[in-house]
């Protein structure tokens, strides 16, 4: 079962226009989007699909506040879909669609879809840095920051579910679908990576009461910490609400910056996540602020020391970068 990770997360929203505005400003590209919604994709073609919450094409909603309606997983080959259908068909309804994909539900009733991945291979450099003692990554006269520097989400990284029973969730994804536990934050739950992805996690569970069942957040990988902070700063400058970050997590080592959204969940930029193989032994830690992050910062309005007797020179107008 060579599952790569989420190709798309599908939402039924109560405000298509606001959601489209948000996703576009977040840095995703609208694809075939019309009055009924559509796909907003990252650079590799993974992304977010929005529809009106009353759209009959969507799987049924959960009886909670979540707007998440389906998790679409990409797999390597058609044989992987056959294997998943055979396994999950043992105890639940699995529907085969005309394009060969299958739809079903997980142990908590979250709607799932499995398809041969639609993601496009990316070939682009990581954020380049120069450091003494190491070969320069940027050529002479190649600038680190410049007006219009791109900072677009590269790929859908991971998502985090509120679940009432973390053991049942772990067993379903690990025993039935081949995910591996990479680390555990107790008592919240485990980080999971699927068989065909070496990222520290594409899925994490947080144990909650039944009435909270839903999507805690989703994240897109950026090209590096500067891209993450540049993209987040651009959101802040447009009036979007930062929730947590920027900072750097311990488990996974990824940089993070979370924002509120009109899709009823947090959207995270992440960058520079650890990679693992099967030799990795999962760690355990109690979920505390200290265990969660190495450091945490908060954006503030730009200022500088200077000749002004107040010692502060504030930006005026829309930042150009």
């Amino acid at each position: 079962m060579n599952i790569i990770g989420p190709d798309y997360l599908v939402f039924g929203v109560d405000d298509l226009a606001s959601s489209a505005e948000y996703l576009t400003d977040f840095g995703l590209t609208p694809v075939d989007v019309d009055a009924t919604g559509g796909l907003f994709e990252a650079l590799d073609g993974t992304g977010i699909i929005i529809r009106a919450k009353s759209d009959p094409s969507l799987p049924d909603p959960l009886p909670t506040a979540t707007m998440l309606r389906q998790q679409v997983y990409g797999v390597v080959a058609p044989e992987d879909i056959d294997a998943i259908a055979a396994e999950l068909g043992k105890d639940r309804r699995v529907t085969r669609l005309a394009d060969g994909s299958i739809e079903t539900t997980d142990v908590h009733g979250f709607a799932l879809k499995f398809q041969v991945t639609r993601r496009r291979p990316l070939s682009m450099p990581a954020e380049k840095i120069n450091a003494p003692g190491a070969p320069a990554q940027r050529a002479p006269n190649e600038l680190g920051v410049f007006p219009g520097k791109p900072a677009q989400p590269r790929t859908l990284s991971h998502h985090v579910l509120f679940v009432p029973d973390q053991d049942a969730a772990r067993d379903f994804y690990c025993d039935r679908l081949g995910f591996v536990v990479t680390d555990v934050l107790k008592p919240a739950g485990p980080f999971l990576r699927p068989r065909a992805n070496d990222d520290h996690h594409t899925l994490f569970f947080i144990t909650t009461p039944e009435y909270m069942k839903g999507l805690e957040h989703l994240a897109f990988h950026m090209g590096g910490p500067t891209e993450l902070m540049l993209a987040g700063t651009r959101l802040v400058n447009k009036g979007y609400q930062s929730f947590w970050g920027p900072g750097r997590h311990k488990f996974g080592s990824n940089w993070f910056w979370y924002f509120n959204s009109p899709l009823g969940t947090h959207f995270e930029y992440d960058a520079d996540m650890d990679k693992h193989d099967d030799s990795w032994v999962a760690r355990e830690a109690m979920l505390t602020p200290k265990a969660s992050q190495v450091f945490l910062f908060e954006a503030q309005r730009r200022w500088m020391p200077g000749p002004d007797p107040k010692g502060i020179v504030e930006d005026e107008g829309t930042p150009e970068w």
Binding site: V13, D14, D15, S18, Y22, T64, A65, T66, M67, F162, T208, Y211, M212, G214, E216, K238, G239, Y240, Q241, F243, F259, N260, S261, P262, G264, T265, H266
Partner: protein, 120 residues
């Protein structure tokens, strides 16, 4: 209610700047990060701390400047996890903070038409 607060104290906004069914956020004190949500429902102004009770200490609820309502405009919403609150009572009706409520901020409208925090 006509204000007893001195007109020199921090004004949040003009009362007539908040239309029926609208909500906006204003710094609780000059320059403060903590905001007060001012909304008008049934003709009356209501003030709520911009602080979702889901997490201790509260977290800001808008997804963008002044975007506090759900898509239908029927409820205050926390755009962290989609919790919805009654605009007049502050009660959470769906979401992670079910059974909790927003913290009311008492408002007064002065003779100058400005909305201020009520003096206790």
């Amino acid at each position: 209610m006509v204000s007893t607060a001195p007109e020199t104290t921090h004004a949040l906004c003009r009362a007539d700047a908040i239309g029926e069914g609208q909500a906006r956020g204003f710094p609780r004190t000059p320059g403060a990060r903590q905001k007060v949500i001012v909304l008008r429902k049934g003709g009356r102004l209501h003030g709520w701390l911009d602080s979702c009770p889901h997490y201790a200490g509260g977290t800001p609820m808008a997804w963008k400047t002044d975007r506090y309502l759900n898509g239908e405009g029927t409820h205050l919403a926390c755009h962290s996890h989609g919790a919805q609150f009654d605009m007049e009572t502050g009660d959470c009706v769906v979401g992670p903070c079910l059974g909790q409520r927003l913290t009311r901020v008492r408002l007064e409208t002065g003779a100058d038409g400005m909305v201020r925090l009520a003096e206790d």
